[in-house]
Amino acid sequence: KLSSGLKRAFEKLTRASFVDEKVVKEFVLELQRALLQADVNVELVFELSERIEKRALSEKLPPGVTRRQYIVKMVYDELTEVLGKKSVPLEFSPGKSKIIMLVGIQGSGKTTTAAKLARYFKKRGVKTGLVCADTFRPGAFEQLNQLADSAGIPIYGHLDAKKPVSLARKGIAQFKQGGYELIFVDTAGRHKEEKGLLREMKNIANAIKADEIILVIDGTLGQQAYAQAKAFHEATEIGSIFVTKLDGSARGGGAISAVAATGAPIKFVGTGEKIEDIEPFNPPRFVGRLLG
Protein backbone atom coordinates (compact mmCIF):
# COMPACT_ATOMS: atom_id res chain seq x y z
CA LYS A 1 0.00 0.00 0.00
CA LEU A 2 3.06 2.24 0.19
CA SER A 3 3.75 2.17 -3.51
CA SER A 4 0.17 2.44 -4.76
CA GLY A 5 0.36 6.23 -4.84
CA LEU A 6 3.56 6.20 -6.87
CA LYS A 7 2.20 3.42 -9.09
CA ARG A 8 -0.94 5.45 -9.87
CA ALA A 9 1.19 8.51 -10.59
CA PHE A 10 3.35 6.53 -13.01
CA GLU A 11 0.22 5.26 -14.79
CA LYS A 12 -1.20 8.76 -15.12
CA LEU A 13 2.10 9.87 -16.56
CA THR A 14 2.03 7.04 -19.08
CA ARG A 15 -1.50 7.82 -20.20
CA ALA A 16 -0.83 11.53 -20.62
CA SER A 17 -0.70 12.37 -24.31
CA PHE A 18 1.78 15.21 -23.83
CA VAL A 19 3.97 16.55 -21.06
CA ASP A 20 1.31 18.17 -18.96
CA GLU A 21 2.82 20.23 -16.15
CA LYS A 22 -0.01 19.22 -13.79
CA VAL A 23 0.58 15.49 -14.35
CA VAL A 24 4.32 15.85 -13.83
CA LYS A 25 3.83 17.86 -10.64
CA GLU A 26 1.41 15.21 -9.35
CA PHE A 27 3.94 12.53 -10.17
CA VAL A 28 6.77 14.39 -8.44
CA LEU A 29 4.60 14.76 -5.32
CA GLU A 30 4.03 10.99 -5.19
CA LEU A 31 7.73 10.37 -5.79
CA GLN A 32 8.55 12.66 -2.85
CA ARG A 33 6.15 10.72 -0.63
CA ALA A 34 7.68 7.39 -1.66
CA LEU A 35 11.21 8.61 -0.98
CA LEU A 36 10.28 10.21 2.36
CA GLN A 37 8.61 7.01 3.51
CA ALA A 38 11.75 5.19 2.46
CA ASP A 39 13.71 7.34 4.96
CA VAL A 40 15.68 9.24 2.31
CA ASN A 41 17.07 12.49 3.73
CA VAL A 42 14.44 15.26 3.51
CA GLU A 43 16.75 17.78 1.82
CA LEU A 44 17.88 15.20 -0.69
CA VAL A 45 14.28 14.26 -1.50
CA PHE A 46 13.42 17.84 -2.43
CA GLU A 47 16.69 18.31 -4.29
CA LEU A 48 16.10 15.15 -6.34
CA SER A 49 12.43 15.84 -7.04
CA GLU A 50 13.14 19.40 -8.17
CA ARG A 51 15.74 18.15 -10.61
CA ILE A 52 13.46 15.41 -11.89
CA GLU A 53 10.56 17.82 -12.33
CA LYS A 54 12.72 20.25 -14.28
CA ARG A 55 14.13 17.51 -16.48
CA ALA A 56 10.73 15.90 -17.06
CA LEU A 57 9.26 19.19 -18.24
CA SER A 58 12.18 20.42 -20.32
CA GLU A 59 13.91 17.44 -21.86
CA LYS A 60 12.86 16.11 -25.23
CA LEU A 61 11.90 12.45 -25.40
CA PRO A 62 14.56 10.46 -27.21
CA PRO A 63 13.20 8.46 -30.20
CA GLY A 64 11.68 5.04 -29.53
CA VAL A 65 11.20 5.64 -25.82
CA THR A 66 7.85 6.19 -24.10
CA ARG A 67 7.29 9.04 -21.68
CA ARG A 68 6.95 6.56 -18.82
CA GLN A 69 10.14 4.68 -19.71
CA TYR A 70 12.04 7.92 -19.90
CA ILE A 71 10.83 9.17 -16.53
CA VAL A 72 11.48 5.78 -14.87
CA LYS A 73 15.01 5.83 -16.27
CA MET A 74 15.42 9.42 -15.06
CA VAL A 75 14.39 8.54 -11.50
CA TYR A 76 16.62 5.49 -11.54
CA ASP A 77 19.58 7.49 -12.90
CA GLU A 78 19.21 10.22 -10.28
CA LEU A 79 19.16 7.65 -7.45
CA THR A 80 22.05 5.57 -8.75
CA GLU A 81 24.02 8.77 -9.28
CA VAL A 82 24.32 8.86 -5.50
CA LEU A 83 24.40 5.13 -4.83
CA GLY A 84 26.61 3.98 -7.64
CA LYS A 85 25.50 2.21 -10.79
CA LYS A 86 27.06 -1.16 -10.35
CA SER A 87 27.96 -3.49 -7.55
CA VAL A 88 31.41 -2.77 -6.09
CA PRO A 89 33.18 -5.85 -4.77
CA LEU A 90 35.24 -6.11 -1.62
CA GLU A 91 38.72 -6.28 -3.08
CA PHE A 92 41.77 -7.94 -1.63
CA SER A 93 45.05 -9.44 -2.88
CA PRO A 94 45.33 -13.22 -2.53
CA GLY A 95 48.28 -14.19 -0.38
CA LYS A 96 48.41 -10.81 1.37
CA SER A 97 46.64 -9.90 4.62
CA LYS A 98 43.85 -7.35 4.41
CA ILE A 99 42.55 -5.95 7.68
CA ILE A 100 38.89 -4.95 7.71
CA MET A 101 37.37 -3.19 10.70
CA LEU A 102 33.61 -2.97 11.31
CA VAL A 103 32.19 0.12 13.03
CA GLY A 104 28.72 1.49 13.61
CA ILE A 105 25.97 2.54 15.99
CA GLN A 106 24.90 0.30 18.86
CA GLY A 107 22.75 -2.61 17.69
CA SER A 108 23.19 -1.96 13.96
CA GLY A 109 24.40 -5.52 13.32
CA LYS A 110 28.24 -5.35 13.34
CA THR A 111 28.95 -8.61 15.18
CA THR A 112 26.51 -10.63 13.09
CA THR A 113 27.84 -8.94 9.94
CA ALA A 114 31.49 -9.69 10.80
CA ALA A 115 30.61 -13.38 10.97
CA LYS A 116 28.54 -13.20 7.77
CA LEU A 117 31.39 -11.60 5.83
CA ALA A 118 33.98 -14.02 7.17
CA ARG A 119 31.85 -17.02 6.19
CA TYR A 120 31.00 -15.49 2.77
CA PHE A 121 34.67 -15.25 1.84
CA LYS A 122 35.67 -18.53 3.48
CA LYS A 123 33.15 -20.28 1.22
CA ARG A 124 34.97 -18.71 -1.73
CA GLY A 125 38.28 -20.18 -0.69
CA VAL A 126 39.67 -17.15 1.11
CA LYS A 127 41.54 -17.71 4.38
CA THR A 128 39.52 -15.59 6.83
CA GLY A 129 39.80 -14.85 10.55
CA LEU A 130 37.74 -12.93 13.09
CA VAL A 131 38.95 -10.65 15.87
CA CYS A 132 36.60 -9.63 18.69
CA ALA A 133 37.77 -6.16 19.72
CA ASP A 134 34.53 -5.32 21.55
CA THR A 135 35.60 -5.37 25.18
CA PHE A 136 32.58 -3.45 26.38
CA ARG A 137 29.39 -5.30 25.60
CA PRO A 138 28.56 -8.20 27.93
CA GLY A 139 28.64 -11.43 25.97
CA ALA A 140 30.21 -9.84 22.86
CA PHE A 141 33.02 -12.38 22.67
CA GLU A 142 30.65 -15.29 23.29
CA GLN A 143 28.34 -14.00 20.55
CA LEU A 144 31.08 -13.75 17.91
CA ASN A 145 32.69 -16.97 19.15
CA GLN A 146 29.46 -18.94 18.74
CA LEU A 147 28.95 -17.50 15.25
CA ALA A 148 32.57 -18.26 14.31
CA ASP A 149 32.28 -21.82 15.60
CA SER A 150 29.11 -22.40 13.61
CA ALA A 151 31.02 -21.59 10.42
CA GLY A 152 34.37 -23.07 11.38
CA ILE A 153 36.17 -19.74 11.32
CA PRO A 154 39.15 -19.10 13.60
CA ILE A 155 38.60 -16.31 16.09
CA TYR A 156 40.89 -14.26 18.31
CA GLY A 157 39.47 -12.74 21.47
CA HIS A 158 39.25 -13.16 25.26
CA LEU A 159 36.51 -13.37 27.79
CA ASP A 160 36.56 -10.24 29.97
CA ALA A 161 39.28 -8.52 27.92
CA LYS A 162 39.68 -4.87 28.86
CA LYS A 163 41.82 -3.16 26.23
CA PRO A 164 40.47 -3.17 22.67
CA VAL A 165 43.55 -1.57 21.06
CA SER A 166 46.14 -4.04 22.36
CA LEU A 167 43.78 -7.00 21.87
CA ALA A 168 43.14 -6.05 18.25
CA ARG A 169 46.86 -5.56 17.62
CA LYS A 170 47.69 -9.01 19.03
CA GLY A 171 44.89 -10.67 17.07
CA ILE A 172 46.00 -9.08 13.80
CA ALA A 173 49.64 -10.08 14.43
CA GLN A 174 48.61 -13.67 15.02
CA PHE A 175 46.46 -13.89 11.88
CA LYS A 176 49.08 -12.16 9.74
CA GLN A 177 51.65 -14.66 10.91
CA GLY A 178 49.24 -17.43 9.96
CA GLY A 179 48.94 -16.06 6.44
CA TYR A 180 45.28 -15.05 6.73
CA GLU A 181 44.04 -13.07 3.73
CA LEU A 182 40.96 -11.36 5.21
CA ILE A 183 40.85 -10.45 8.87
CA PHE A 184 37.56 -8.98 10.10
CA VAL A 185 37.70 -6.94 13.32
CA ASP A 186 34.46 -6.44 15.28
CA THR A 187 34.26 -3.34 17.48
CA ALA A 188 31.83 -2.03 20.11
CA GLY A 189 28.85 0.08 19.08
CA ARG A 190 29.15 3.86 19.36
CA HIS A 191 27.37 6.97 18.11
CA LYS A 192 28.33 10.49 17.10
CA GLU A 193 27.80 12.03 20.53
CA GLU A 194 30.32 9.71 22.19
CA LYS A 195 33.48 11.66 21.34
CA GLY A 196 35.64 9.46 23.54
CA LEU A 197 34.45 6.33 21.76
CA LEU A 198 34.99 7.90 18.33
CA ARG A 199 38.56 8.63 19.44
CA GLU A 200 38.94 5.03 20.64
CA MET A 201 37.73 3.83 17.22
CA LYS A 202 40.38 6.01 15.56
CA ASN A 203 43.04 4.58 17.90
CA ILE A 204 42.07 1.00 17.09
CA ALA A 205 42.09 1.71 13.34
CA ASN A 206 45.54 3.30 13.51
CA ALA A 207 47.00 0.63 15.80
CA ILE A 208 45.98 -2.21 13.51
CA LYS A 209 46.59 -0.23 10.29
CA ALA A 210 43.10 -1.12 9.05
CA ASP A 211 43.01 -1.41 5.26
CA GLU A 212 39.27 -0.89 5.00
CA ILE A 213 36.69 0.35 7.47
CA ILE A 214 33.14 -0.84 6.95
CA LEU A 215 30.35 1.31 8.39
CA VAL A 216 27.45 -0.95 9.33
CA ILE A 217 24.16 0.90 8.84
CA ASP A 218 20.84 -0.30 10.27
CA GLY A 219 18.27 -0.48 7.45
CA THR A 220 15.71 1.15 9.75
CA LEU A 221 17.86 4.25 10.36
CA GLY A 222 15.93 7.46 9.72
CA GLN A 223 16.86 11.11 9.28
CA GLN A 224 19.87 10.79 11.60
CA ALA A 225 21.75 8.72 9.01
CA TYR A 226 23.64 11.58 7.37
CA ALA A 227 24.90 13.19 10.59
CA GLN A 228 25.91 9.87 12.17
CA ALA A 229 27.74 8.60 9.06
CA LYS A 230 29.53 11.94 8.71
CA ALA A 231 30.79 11.78 12.31
CA PHE A 232 32.16 8.25 11.77
CA HIS A 233 33.81 9.33 8.52
CA GLU A 234 35.46 12.33 10.16
CA ALA A 235 36.98 10.07 12.82
CA THR A 236 38.06 7.23 10.52
CA GLU A 237 37.81 7.20 6.73
CA ILE A 238 34.94 4.89 5.83
CA GLY A 239 35.81 2.56 2.96
CA SER A 240 32.45 0.91 2.41
CA ILE A 241 28.98 0.52 3.82
CA PHE A 242 27.03 -2.59 4.85
CA VAL A 243 23.26 -2.15 5.19
CA THR A 244 21.52 -4.57 7.58
CA LYS A 245 17.98 -5.68 8.30
CA LEU A 246 16.66 -5.24 4.78
CA ASP A 247 14.58 -8.39 5.30
CA GLY A 248 12.16 -6.30 7.35
CA SER A 249 9.91 -3.60 5.95
CA ALA A 250 12.40 -0.73 6.14
CA ARG A 251 13.28 0.56 2.68
CA GLY A 252 16.85 1.59 3.50
CA GLY A 253 16.79 5.26 2.49
CA GLY A 254 19.14 6.05 5.37
CA ALA A 255 21.82 4.13 3.49
CA ILE A 256 21.71 6.72 0.71
CA SER A 257 22.50 9.43 3.24
CA ALA A 258 25.38 7.33 4.56
CA VAL A 259 26.79 7.06 1.04
CA ALA A 260 26.37 10.79 0.48
CA ALA A 261 28.07 11.60 3.79
CA THR A 262 31.04 9.27 3.34
CA GLY A 263 31.48 8.93 -0.41
CA ALA A 264 31.79 5.21 0.28
CA PRO A 265 29.99 2.55 -1.78
CA ILE A 266 27.58 -0.01 -0.36
CA LYS A 267 29.16 -3.41 -0.99
CA PHE A 268 26.85 -5.81 0.83
CA VAL A 269 23.45 -5.97 2.48
CA GLY A 270 22.13 -8.09 5.34
CA THR A 271 18.92 -9.95 4.64
CA GLY A 272 18.28 -11.85 7.85
CA GLU A 273 19.58 -13.04 11.19
CA LYS A 274 21.34 -16.18 10.02
CA ILE A 275 24.98 -16.20 9.09
CA GLU A 276 24.18 -17.00 5.46
CA ASP A 277 21.81 -14.00 5.11
CA ILE A 278 24.17 -11.76 3.16
CA GLU A 279 24.08 -10.55 -0.46
CA PRO A 280 26.33 -8.36 -2.59
CA PHE A 281 24.77 -4.93 -3.10
CA ASN A 282 22.52 -4.82 -6.15
CA PRO A 283 21.70 -1.20 -7.18
CA PRO A 284 18.60 -1.92 -9.33
CA ARG A 285 17.06 -4.12 -6.66
CA PHE A 286 17.85 -1.59 -3.94
CA VAL A 287 16.31 1.29 -5.90
CA GLY A 288 13.27 -0.85 -6.66
CA ARG A 289 12.78 -1.53 -2.95
CA LEU A 290 13.34 2.15 -2.16
CA LEU A 291 10.52 3.23 -4.48
CA GLY A 292 8.26 0.59 -2.94
Partner: protein, 287 residues
Protein backbone atom coordinates in the same frame (compact mmCIF):
# COMPACT_ATOMS: atom_id res chain seq x y z
CA UNK B 1 -9.16 28.91 -1.85
CA UNK B 2 -9.15 32.10 0.18
CA UNK B 3 -5.89 33.88 0.87
CA UNK B 4 -6.16 32.82 4.50
CA UNK B 5 -6.60 29.17 3.54
CA UNK B 6 -3.64 29.36 1.16
CA UNK B 7 -1.38 30.89 3.79
CA UNK B 8 -2.62 28.31 6.29
CA UNK B 9 -1.75 25.50 3.91
CA UNK B 10 1.71 26.96 3.36
CA UNK B 11 2.35 27.41 7.09
CA UNK B 12 1.18 23.87 7.76
CA UNK B 13 3.34 22.53 4.93
CA UNK B 14 6.44 24.21 6.40
CA UNK B 15 5.72 22.85 9.85
CA UNK B 16 5.06 19.39 8.47
CA UNK B 17 8.57 19.61 7.04
CA UNK B 18 9.86 20.33 10.55
CA UNK B 19 8.20 17.15 11.78
CA UNK B 20 9.72 15.10 8.93
CA UNK B 21 13.21 16.46 9.56
CA UNK B 22 12.80 15.47 13.19
CA UNK B 23 12.22 11.84 12.28
CA UNK B 24 8.43 11.82 12.50
CA UNK B 25 7.17 9.19 10.04
CA UNK B 26 5.42 10.59 6.96
CA UNK B 27 2.11 8.88 7.73
CA UNK B 28 2.18 10.17 11.32
CA UNK B 29 3.09 13.71 10.22
CA UNK B 30 0.26 13.71 7.66
CA UNK B 31 -2.25 12.49 10.24
CA UNK B 32 -1.21 15.10 12.80
CA UNK B 33 -1.39 17.97 10.31
CA UNK B 34 -4.72 16.80 8.91
CA UNK B 35 -6.25 16.61 12.38
CA UNK B 36 -5.27 20.08 13.47
CA UNK B 37 -6.41 21.48 10.14
CA UNK B 38 -9.88 20.06 10.64
CA UNK B 39 -10.42 20.77 14.27
CA UNK B 40 -8.50 23.70 15.52
CA UNK B 41 -7.17 25.97 12.86
CA UNK B 42 -10.46 27.13 11.42
CA UNK B 43 -11.52 28.99 14.54
CA UNK B 44 -8.21 30.41 15.60
CA UNK B 45 -7.06 32.14 12.46
CA UNK B 46 -8.14 35.75 12.43
CA UNK B 47 -5.30 38.09 11.68
CA UNK B 48 -3.30 37.14 8.58
CA UNK B 49 0.08 38.27 9.89
CA UNK B 50 0.11 35.74 12.69
CA UNK B 51 -0.66 32.62 10.71
CA UNK B 52 2.79 31.04 10.97
CA UNK B 53 2.89 31.63 14.73
CA UNK B 54 -0.67 30.39 15.30
CA UNK B 55 -0.20 27.24 13.27
CA UNK B 56 3.07 26.54 15.05
CA UNK B 57 1.42 26.91 18.47
CA UNK B 58 -1.53 24.72 17.52
CA UNK B 59 0.78 22.07 16.14
CA UNK B 60 2.94 22.18 19.25
CA UNK B 61 -0.14 21.70 21.46
CA UNK B 62 -1.33 18.85 19.30
CA UNK B 63 2.04 17.11 19.53
CA UNK B 64 2.08 17.57 23.29
CA UNK B 65 -1.43 16.13 23.56
CA UNK B 66 -0.55 13.14 21.43
CA UNK B 67 2.55 12.35 23.49
CA UNK B 68 0.70 12.63 26.79
CA UNK B 69 -2.35 10.82 25.39
CA UNK B 70 -4.48 13.78 26.44
CA UNK B 71 -8.17 13.02 26.33
CA UNK B 72 -7.59 9.29 26.32
CA UNK B 73 -9.40 7.43 29.02
CA UNK B 74 -6.22 5.79 30.24
CA UNK B 75 -4.98 6.11 33.76
CA UNK B 76 -1.32 6.83 34.10
CA UNK B 77 0.65 3.60 33.84
CA UNK B 78 3.00 3.05 36.75
CA UNK B 79 5.35 0.08 36.98
CA UNK B 80 5.54 0.22 40.77
CA UNK B 81 1.76 0.34 41.22
CA UNK B 82 1.28 -2.62 38.90
CA UNK B 83 3.83 -4.64 40.87
CA UNK B 84 2.20 -3.77 44.19
CA UNK B 85 -1.23 -4.62 42.79
CA UNK B 86 -0.13 -8.04 41.57
CA UNK B 87 1.80 -8.83 44.73
CA UNK B 88 -1.34 -8.15 46.81
CA UNK B 89 -2.93 -11.04 44.94
CA UNK B 90 0.02 -13.28 45.74
CA UNK B 91 1.52 -13.17 42.27
CA UNK B 92 4.65 -11.65 40.74
CA UNK B 93 4.15 -8.87 38.20
CA UNK B 94 5.16 -10.13 34.75
CA UNK B 95 6.59 -7.81 32.10
CA UNK B 96 7.43 -9.10 28.60
CA UNK B 97 9.77 -7.05 26.40
CA UNK B 98 9.40 -7.24 22.62
CA UNK B 99 10.74 -5.46 19.56
CA UNK B 100 12.82 -5.84 16.42
CA UNK B 101 16.48 -6.83 16.42
CA UNK B 102 19.01 -4.66 18.18
CA UNK B 103 16.71 -2.01 19.68
CA UNK B 104 17.99 -2.50 23.23
CA UNK B 105 15.55 -4.95 24.86
CA UNK B 106 18.15 -6.94 26.83
CA UNK B 107 19.99 -3.84 28.06
CA UNK B 108 16.69 -2.15 28.94
CA UNK B 109 15.65 -5.17 31.02
CA UNK B 110 18.90 -4.86 32.96
CA UNK B 111 18.16 -1.16 33.55
CA UNK B 112 14.61 -1.89 34.73
CA UNK B 113 15.87 -4.65 37.05
CA UNK B 114 18.40 -2.22 38.51
CA UNK B 115 15.71 0.45 38.90
CA UNK B 116 13.32 -1.94 40.68
CA UNK B 117 16.05 -3.27 42.96
CA UNK B 118 16.88 0.27 44.01
CA UNK B 119 13.20 0.73 44.93
CA UNK B 120 13.42 -2.35 47.13
CA UNK B 121 11.77 -4.92 44.87
CA UNK B 122 13.02 -8.43 44.16
CA UNK B 123 13.35 -9.31 40.50
CA UNK B 124 13.99 -12.39 38.40
CA UNK B 125 14.78 -12.41 34.66
CA UNK B 126 13.61 -14.97 32.12
CA UNK B 127 16.14 -15.65 29.36
CA UNK B 128 13.55 -16.35 26.69
CA UNK B 129 15.86 -15.45 23.79
CA UNK B 130 16.96 -18.98 23.00
CA UNK B 131 17.96 -18.22 19.44
CA UNK B 132 20.57 -15.49 19.06
CA UNK B 133 24.27 -16.20 19.55
CA UNK B 134 25.51 -14.97 22.91
CA UNK B 135 22.05 -13.88 24.12
CA UNK B 136 22.06 -16.15 27.17
CA UNK B 137 25.56 -15.08 28.26
CA UNK B 138 24.73 -11.42 27.69
CA UNK B 139 21.67 -11.54 29.94
CA UNK B 140 23.46 -13.66 32.53
CA UNK B 141 26.27 -11.12 32.80
CA UNK B 142 23.82 -8.24 33.18
CA UNK B 143 21.91 -10.22 35.81
CA UNK B 144 25.10 -10.85 37.77
CA UNK B 145 26.12 -7.19 37.69
CA UNK B 146 22.67 -5.96 38.71
CA UNK B 147 22.39 -8.67 41.33
CA UNK B 148 19.32 -10.62 40.19
CA UNK B 149 18.70 -14.23 39.27
CA UNK B 150 18.12 -15.29 35.69
CA UNK B 151 16.12 -18.37 34.72
CA UNK B 152 17.70 -20.01 31.68
CA UNK B 153 15.84 -23.29 31.49
CA UNK B 154 17.18 -25.42 28.66
CA UNK B 155 19.18 -22.57 27.12
CA UNK B 156 19.75 -22.29 23.37
CA UNK B 157 17.23 -24.06 21.20
CA UNK B 158 14.76 -24.66 24.00
CA UNK B 159 11.19 -23.37 24.07
CA UNK B 160 11.05 -19.64 24.85
CA UNK B 161 7.56 -19.79 26.33
CA UNK B 162 8.59 -22.62 28.68
CA UNK B 163 11.42 -20.51 30.10
CA UNK B 164 9.02 -17.65 30.78
CA UNK B 165 6.67 -20.12 32.47
CA UNK B 166 9.48 -21.52 34.62
CA UNK B 167 10.58 -18.05 35.67
CA UNK B 168 7.05 -17.12 36.72
CA UNK B 169 6.65 -20.38 38.65
CA UNK B 170 10.00 -19.74 40.34
CA UNK B 171 8.99 -16.17 41.25
CA UNK B 172 5.56 -17.24 42.54
CA UNK B 173 7.05 -19.96 44.75
CA UNK B 174 9.55 -17.56 46.28
CA UNK B 175 7.30 -14.46 46.44
CA UNK B 176 9.57 -12.51 44.10
CA UNK B 177 7.96 -9.20 43.16
CA UNK B 178 8.60 -9.00 39.40
CA UNK B 179 9.54 -11.16 36.42
CA UNK B 180 11.19 -9.52 33.41
CA UNK B 181 10.97 -11.64 30.25
CA UNK B 182 13.62 -11.02 27.57
CA UNK B 183 12.63 -12.13 24.08
CA UNK B 184 14.60 -12.45 20.85
CA UNK B 185 14.56 -9.59 18.38
CA UNK B 186 12.24 -10.27 15.46
CA UNK B 187 11.16 -8.53 12.28
CA UNK B 188 7.49 -7.63 12.29
CA UNK B 189 7.31 -9.13 8.80
CA UNK B 190 8.38 -12.61 9.94
CA UNK B 191 5.15 -14.52 10.55
CA UNK B 192 6.78 -17.48 12.31
CA UNK B 193 8.59 -15.28 14.79
CA UNK B 194 5.49 -13.17 15.39
CA UNK B 195 3.61 -16.42 16.10
CA UNK B 196 6.34 -17.50 18.51
CA UNK B 197 5.96 -14.19 20.34
CA UNK B 198 2.18 -14.72 20.55
CA UNK B 199 2.85 -18.08 22.20
CA UNK B 200 5.24 -16.55 24.75
CA UNK B 201 2.59 -13.95 25.62
CA UNK B 202 -0.16 -16.56 25.86
CA UNK B 203 1.88 -18.67 28.26
CA UNK B 204 3.32 -15.81 30.31
CA UNK B 205 0.03 -13.90 30.54
CA UNK B 206 1.93 -10.69 31.35
CA UNK B 207 0.73 -7.62 33.20
CA UNK B 208 2.52 -5.44 30.67
CA UNK B 209 3.73 -6.10 27.14
CA UNK B 210 6.44 -3.52 26.58
CA UNK B 211 7.54 -2.54 23.08
CA UNK B 212 11.18 -1.47 22.91
CA UNK B 213 11.84 0.86 19.97
CA UNK B 214 15.00 2.52 18.68
CA UNK B 215 14.75 6.33 18.66
CA UNK B 216 16.95 6.41 15.57
CA UNK B 217 14.42 4.47 13.49
CA UNK B 218 12.60 6.42 10.81
CA UNK B 219 9.36 5.49 9.07
CA UNK B 220 9.69 1.83 10.03
CA UNK B 221 8.71 2.76 13.60
CA UNK B 222 5.11 3.00 12.41
CA UNK B 223 5.11 -0.47 10.87
CA UNK B 224 6.96 -1.98 13.83
CA UNK B 225 4.66 -0.62 16.51
CA UNK B 226 1.55 -1.29 14.44
CA UNK B 227 2.38 -4.91 13.67
CA UNK B 228 3.56 -5.75 17.17
CA UNK B 229 0.41 -4.13 18.53
CA UNK B 230 -1.79 -6.12 16.14
CA UNK B 231 -0.01 -9.33 17.10
CA UNK B 232 -0.01 -9.17 20.91
CA UNK B 233 -1.30 -5.77 21.99
CA UNK B 234 1.31 -3.33 23.26
CA UNK B 235 0.63 -1.77 26.66
CA UNK B 236 3.44 0.78 26.59
CA UNK B 237 6.78 1.51 24.95
CA UNK B 238 10.34 2.30 25.88
CA UNK B 239 12.34 4.40 23.43
CA UNK B 240 16.09 3.75 23.46
CA UNK B 241 19.27 5.52 22.26
CA UNK B 242 17.90 9.03 22.81
CA UNK B 243 21.48 9.96 23.74
CA UNK B 244 22.56 9.45 20.12
CA UNK B 245 21.08 12.89 19.43
CA UNK B 246 17.79 11.35 18.34
CA UNK B 247 15.44 14.08 17.16
CA UNK B 248 12.52 12.57 19.06
CA UNK B 249 10.06 12.26 16.19
CA UNK B 250 10.04 8.48 16.57
CA UNK B 251 8.19 8.97 19.86
CA UNK B 252 5.43 10.74 17.97
CA UNK B 253 5.32 8.07 15.25
CA UNK B 254 4.88 5.30 17.80
CA UNK B 255 2.39 7.00 20.14
CA UNK B 256 0.21 8.35 17.34
CA UNK B 257 0.16 4.88 15.75
CA UNK B 258 -0.75 2.67 18.71
CA UNK B 259 -2.15 5.24 21.17
CA UNK B 260 -0.18 3.81 24.05
CA UNK B 261 2.21 5.71 26.34
CA UNK B 262 5.97 5.76 26.39
CA UNK B 263 7.05 4.90 29.93
CA UNK B 264 10.80 5.38 29.79
CA UNK B 265 13.58 6.47 27.48
CA UNK B 266 17.05 4.94 27.29
CA UNK B 267 19.77 7.53 27.50
CA UNK B 268 22.90 5.38 27.36
CA UNK B 269 24.38 1.96 27.95
CA UNK B 270 24.71 2.09 31.75
CA UNK B 271 22.20 0.75 34.28
CA UNK B 272 21.29 4.28 35.41
CA UNK B 273 20.67 5.46 31.84
CA UNK B 274 16.92 5.11 32.10
CA UNK B 275 14.64 8.12 32.54
CA UNK B 276 10.91 8.59 32.86
CA UNK B 277 9.37 9.78 29.61
CA UNK B 278 9.01 13.56 29.54
CA UNK B 279 6.74 14.80 26.76
CA UNK B 280 7.93 18.39 27.18
CA UNK B 281 11.51 17.38 26.37
CA UNK B 282 10.33 15.92 23.07
CA UNK B 283 8.17 18.92 22.23
CA UNK B 284 11.17 21.19 22.77
CA UNK B 285 13.41 18.96 20.62
CA UNK B 286 11.00 19.14 17.72
CA UNK B 287 10.05 22.80 17.99
Amino acid sequence: KTLTEKRLDKALKDLRLTLLQNDVALIAADKICENIKEEQLGEKVGRLENIQKIVSEVLEDSVRNILTLEGQQQEKMDLIEIIQEQNKNGAPAVFVFVGINGTGKTTTIAKIAHFLKQKGFSVVMAASDTFRAGSQEQLAKHAKRVGVKVIKGGGYGSDSAAIAYDAIAHATARSINAVLVDTAGRMQTNKNLMDEMKKIVRVANPDLIIFVGDALAGNDAVSQSEEFNNAVGIDCSILTKIDADARGGTALSIVSTIQKPILFVGTGQGYDDLEAFDAEWFVERIF
